[in-house]
Symmetry: C2
Subunit: 401 residues, 2 copies
């Protein structure tokens, strides 16, 4: 059975994702579409709107055959580590190809860009350092360094988040012992940063989230498949909320004010004295937005700060994360349909990593992911968090026909 | 100016407290009544209904001339340390006498009990150990040991909380270089553990708190002085809540679930593996009451567990507490009237400890108390906690005419 892998967050699943899954299957001529998906906290340093089980159901109802989890250690991460974790998992599960969305739909442009960058890496790194020394954020310093070295000669605009992810997928794949076939599909209409909904049936996830927060779920019905829309509504009525940072603000503020700056400095991604800023801002701010406004600086992107805040909220130390990042050590199944099951039954015996279907048996290996699930639940009011907490630990993979 | 000291929590200030302050002044023939009062968290391991500033105003409006703070390190403590901290502070402020409430009103019974206990301390301690080895809580083991050693011959029933406190006041006083004159007033009507309100104008603080929680503030009007009643109502309308453990449950649950058992074991008063019980119960419980019900054992009193929970909530380590408990290192003024001010002006130059009126100047010394104030504020919803947080740090002592 030919298999294509995709890397997803589905926050929430929308028509563009449906298109991506279909096109990936076509492009690879695949029997099976396998998604590796972030768990409860996402690459941009945010809680997912709905939990990973609900997002797995959305995926399985819309063209995906298998969903496995990208562990916390790789999901709440900069593009490089995020890509490395995801691509490694797809290859460990014997995908023949992987397929990502891009602005131009040309996989060759990614490969050429990577070759040029490799060739000039010795000149590039010192330039990045120089711009960071001038106080620019890491991504901004990279962009400036590339511009001064290559001018307009790179085939890809690497200041676009989706291009950066694609670039790192390609890079991670090339570093594998048995690289998969890289494929890309051209994204439809919506730009990554688009925040307004158009009359087109495809909108960006950012725009969809914004619409949900500002005008409620109904607004987004045209932009998501019916089953995903039903799933979102079901979650909202079951738990009373979709998850967002504001729900976690009391816990984050409490954690910041009850920890010493020395303790905060031990948390992953907390560096260069930002712990002092964070603590002082927590004292002064009445909401998450107010807090972020007072914390942000030219030196750090919003996303970079949010990721550090997730690690603080989950109390994940540099040491713990360092160990978890060394290698992908397990694969956790979140869900599958009958085609996915058929495939997994075939390849299971050849897997080099533990394949987890029952969390209770792998408590220790899953420590970070289980903690993420528990803290994710605590954002809800007590009665809802209680039912979410008790369900999480014994949750079985979603199985659809 | 002759001065009498009293040790108080005023949670809330009621008619029995007014009686105690008046009788203490009479018994000592004192010009000045000085109260040393627990801050935001109390000896029984609970948040105070209203903050220390509101409770200071209640005291100054009802027969107390000076209120100083019993530091967190001594207030959320078993009777022995609580008494030691409080009595030390009164003596450092040159009180001539101190006066506490007791069931029998005989200070001699406390002194005689202490003498007998001292005489038999070598036989007593091993007996206490023996009963603890059988799984009894520390207070219960003490009671059983005393019973088997003295039968009914001790003049005091030390199983009553107020007698235990009195006993430790006497003990702490005798250990001072210059002991004060010990005095006691007989408590009126209400027993420490009374939980029902009677038709008498004096009720126990426990009964008053229960009535507030169950039927609202109005019920308690007959049992508290008018100014104290007004203060409670004012606090409730300003902040929307009186403080109680339920408000802190989400934060406590979050702290327990986001900390490892190794980290919890470093917290003061967490011992003998109770951290495993606490973490598991946090996972299973939907409210503070449910949590306490599932945590309690024969081995630990409710109060003992609650104190450990306050230390967990405030993230106070064994190391930090050990250092803070070594000695009283500062005295913080919470409020005074003109008589109190006259007295303090006279004695201030002879004080052997820093006398703090502005917290901002003594941030480091006050670290634990300031943390307690911040976490205390976080129990309230965001908008209220914000105003409480920002006020706390720059709060000046209450000054009444």
């Amino acid at each position: 059975m030919k298999t294509v892998g995709i890397v997803v967050e589905y926050n929430p699943f929308h028509n563009g994702h449906l298109y991506h899954a279909q096109k990936a299957r076509e492009a690879a001529g695949a029997d099976v579409v396998m998604a590796v998906m972030s768990g409860h906290f996402l690459q941009r340093g945010e809680p997912a709107l709905v939990n990973k089980w609900a997002r797995t159901r959305m995926a399985l109802q819309n063209g995906v055959d298998i969903v496995v989890e990208l562990p916390y250690a790789f999901s709440v991460q900069k593009a490089e580590y995020f890509a490395k974790g995801a691509i490694t998992i797809l290859e460990k599960l014997f995908c023949d190809a992987f397929c990502f969305g891009s602005e131009n739909g040309q996989v060759s442009s990614f490969i050429e860009t990577k070759q040029q960058m490799d060739k000039h890496s010795k000149s590039l790194d010192p330039l990045v350092q120089k711009y960071m020394g001038e106080g620019f954020s890491f991504p901004k310093a990279q962009t400036l360094a590339r511009e001064s070295l290559f001018g307009q000669r790179l085939p890809l605009d690497l200041s676009k988040p989706n291009n950066i992810l694609g670039f790192h997928y390609i890079q991670a794949n090339e570093n594998l012992p048995h690289p998969m076939t890289p494929l890309t599909v051209k994204r439809q209409q919506a730009d990554y940063h688009d925040v307004t909904l158009s009359s087109q049936p495809i909108a960006s996830a950012t725009g969809i989230r914004k619409a949900i927060m500002e005008t409620g779920l109904e607004t987004i019905e045209p932009y998501v498949p019916a089953a995903a829309f039903a799933e979102l509504n079901h979650y909202l009525s079951a738990y009373g909320h979709l998850h967002h940072w504001d729900l976690y603000w009391p816990l984050l503020q409490y954690r910041l004010l009850s920890s010493s700056t020395e303790e905060l400095a031990q948390i992953y991604d907390v560096s260069e004295g930002i712990e002092y800023r964070l603590k002082e801002a927590a004292r002064q701010s009445a909401s998450f937005t107010e807090f972020m406004e007072s914390v942000k600086t030219k030196r750090y992107t919003w996303t970079r700060i949010q990721r550090a805040l997730v690690h603080i909220l989950l109390h994940v130390s540099k040491e713990e994360m360092g160990a978890a990042l060394e290698a992908v050590r397990y694969i956790r199944l979140l869900g599958m349909n009958s085609r996915g099951r058929e495939y997994l039954n075939k390849v299971k015996k050849n897997l080099s990593l533990p394949f987890i279907t029952k969390a209770a048996v792998f408590k220790e290996a899953l420590a970070l992911d289980l903690k993420a699930a528990e803290i994710y639940a605590l954002g809800l009011p007590s009665h809802s968090s209680h039912s979410l907490l008790s369900s999480e630990f014994n949750e079985h993979p979603v199985i659809l026909p």
